[in-house]
């Protein structure tokens, strides 16, 4: 299945560039913010909800090409994937760590003001 490995076409890369900059905070996850379908995704949703920031979620379970392409785009093998200000921030563990240390709140505040 070579074509799956090379999922990140220039078109898809272009689209992803637009999607991750369309909002200050974008979360690619399993399920949606109203109905997370994995504990790791749910954890990040709960954190973002508690911080009271606007964010958009995109369900990668509904699009296999998007799912494979994103892994390449961010060089990150798993989901969820959190983007802040157009930049890949991390997966679930990194988000939890940054939430606990206060780093995430700080970064989000800065992103919202920029």
């Amino acid at each position: 299945w070579e074509f799956v490995v090379a999922a990140l076409s220039p078109d898809l890369k272009n689209t992803l560039d637009k999607v991750v900059t369309s909002q200050k905070v974008v979360l690619f996850m399993k399920g949606t913010k109203d109905f997370p379908q994995c504990g790791f995704s749910n954890t990040v949703v709960q954190i973002l909800n508690s911080l009271d920031v606007p964010y958009e979620t995109i369900n990668i379970l509904e699009n296999e090409v998007l799912r494979q392409g994103l892994k390449e785009y961010s060089s990150w093998p798993t989901f969820p994937q959190l983007y802040i200000d157009g930049e890949f921030f991390g997966g679930c563990d990194i988000t939890v760590e940054a939430y606990k240390s206060g780093e995430l709140q700080e970064l989000l505040e800065r992103a919202m003001c920029s």
């Binding site: 990150w76 093998p77 798993t78 921030f89 997966g91 563990d93 990194i94 760590e97």
Partner: protein, 93 residues
Amino acid sequence: MGVTKEQVESTLKSKLNPSHLEIIDTSGGCGASFAIEIVSEQFEGKRLLERHRLVNAALEEEMKEIHALSIKKAVTPGQWKQQLESEKSTSAA
């Protein structure tokens, strides 16, 4: 074929030369799922995202079979020593 805890352990040992490594099988029998704590000099001067990237890259082959990987700790030997000491002092108090 899934991935065993021993496989994850030997790959991380050979690629990241950790001074401390703990791998917990969190699958409960349903598939390869691990939580890891790793202490390595290779994390020196790197942000958390870069540290996690190093671990993910080391396990590139295994990741194809792993269902869930949680990196609980990725610290330098210095940070590890500090954490152990602060734990000791709180438990002694």
